[in-house]
């Protein structure tokens, strides 16, 4: 604090980062920036790779591990190492007209949806408004653009459409649950591997994340004012209580599920590349990666 700083009556200093808090208030925002940075960095690299997102039997039979960053596979490039079999791609191979400037990666086609869900999430909004936007950097710590702040009234009005991102997230939850079930099969044979557990935990955490979503909690019951109107508890009241349980843990689930998605991709990638061995009941032969 220099002598030229403005001090308000009450002894508060005006300026970015000014506070009388002696504690390390900046640790939280710093961790947020680091975690989000690592997640975006890893996610982008994993997406651009466009390969090693699949582990399955050589025979291309029913079942296998699919990375959550690549699910669903809308279009695929059969020549990529560790690519899913053709039967997995909803619309087959990347077409001729697919712009060559865009990455030929199935992940590129879908990551916008979970990305938008996380970006407009009420919890992540808090996290990045604070740590990236400095609005405010910490509680009782002054931020930027004193007096020029607009909140969510102008540029950030689109945040009001979070529920639409949530609708897509529910579809993704169903697909990832299907992938988790498929991970217990290899070439049609029922079994279990470390990868099945990894994928199942992934689908579960992502479902918990959606269940705790504020828009979800509102739409399944929160919008009503009357949970027991005629003396009997309504179904939406029960649903609201269910959502509330996860909503109260939304922050924790947000971070754990984000980390686990990245780990799941890493796991599938490493096994697909032959670097990690997947312990499972099917044996080595059934774990060959397509295209290696």
């Amino acid at each position: 604090m220099s002598s030229s700083d403005t001090v308000l009556p009450g002894g508060h200093v005006v300026g970015l980062g000014e506070t009388r808090r002696p504690d390390k208030w900046w640790v939280g925002p710093l961790l947020t920036v680091s975690f989000i940075g690592v997640a975006i960095g890893y996610g982008t690299i994993a997406m651009l790779m466009g390969n090693h997102y699949w582990v399955g039997a050589e025979g291309h039979g029913f079942g296998g591990y699919l990375s959550p960053l690549y699910s669903p596979v809308l279009m695929f490039d059969a020549s990529a190492a560790g690519a899913a079999p053709a039967s997995h791609a909803w619309f087959g191979a990347f077409p001729e007209w697919y712009p060559s400037l865009l990455p030929k990666s199935p992940a590129f086609l879908i990551l916008l949806f979970p990305g938008a869900f996380r970006f407009t999430c009420y919890y992540y909004r808090k996290a990045y408004y604070r740590s990236f936007g400095f609005a405010p950097p910490g509680c009782a710590v002054e931020g930027v653009r004193r007096g020029k702040y607009e909140g969510e009234t102008k540029l950030f009005l689109f945040q009001n459409l979070h529920r639409y991102a949530m609708y897509f997230a529910v579809i993704f939850n169903i697909i990832l649950t299907y992938d988790a079930v498929m991970s217990f099969f290899r070439d049609g044979a029922l079994g279990i591997g470390v990868g099945s557990v990894v994928l199942t935990i992934n689908a579960t955490l992502l479902a918990f994340y959606t269940f705790g979503c504020h828009s979800f909690r509102h739409l399944i019951g929160g919008r009503a004012n009357c949970f027991t109107c005629d003396g009997k508890e309504t179904l939406s009241s029960k649903a609201w209580s269910f959502g509330t349980f996860f909503n109260q843990r939304h922050m924790q689930i947000a971070w754990v599920s984000l980390a686990w998605v990245m780990f799941t991709d890493l796991y599938v990638r490493m096994v697909s590349m032959g670097i990690w061995t997947d312990f499972n009941t099917w044996g080595e032969a059934a774990t060959k990666t397509v295209g290696l």
Binding site: P22, A140, E142, R146, G151, R163, G231, E233
Partner: protein, 264 residues
Amino acid sequence: MGKRSFKIWRGNAEGGEFHTYETEITEGMVVLDAIHQIQAESANDLAVRWNCKAGKCGSCGCEVNGKPKLSCMTRMNSLPEEGDVVIQPIKTFPVIKDLVCDVSYNYVRNKQIPPFAPREREADGTHRMEQRDVDRIQEFRKCIECFLCMDVCHVLRDHEKKDDFVGPRWMIRLASLEMHPLDIVDRIPLIREKFGSGWCNITRCCTEVCPEHINITDNGIIPLKERVVDRFYDPIAMLKRKLFGDKSNKRLPVVEVGDSSASG
């Protein structure tokens, strides 16, 4: 525990400065005890507001080491042992003298909120509500009007948008009325426009400082924002209302209440 040094801001709306005081701290003392002791020993004219000394009247809000706190509920042994204890009035509202602020903005804004209006009584002349329905809004009724949330809210505190955003304490009053099972007033348009729900960026500092542990953001403001979305931003919900009509029994308030200028 021994002697501790305090830096207390002294002054009025024109300005002022920190004064340093020392006083003996004994076991069990809270910050308000220390302020009173300083007042008795060396600063008879120090202005401080307090009433219950039990965390229930909400009068003793101030900033202790930069954080909004009830001075009567902040134990001396909860503060770091080293350094001065810095005590300031709350930043959001104008200082009158020393630690006392003019919080009348709150009373002006409160008057602008359309009050509770219940639906018609039932045939037997009663109003019936179920416990389950009241539980949800009961949380908001714990508010002791200490205005610590108003102090920490950066929209009011740093950006001084008091005319645009009503502030967290009043958002939860609005929530408690809006979610009331008997109430029939529709406050959603007001919540968006006059009370400025869009100004809150849900950064949760209000929730972090609330001494009553009211989950202001998650249970009050965000649900109100979602209701505003239903009404003004969700194209499908809007179309549905157009086609099938509005099923809610809420009505717009008939009277325009309160004064439009809120600054204070």
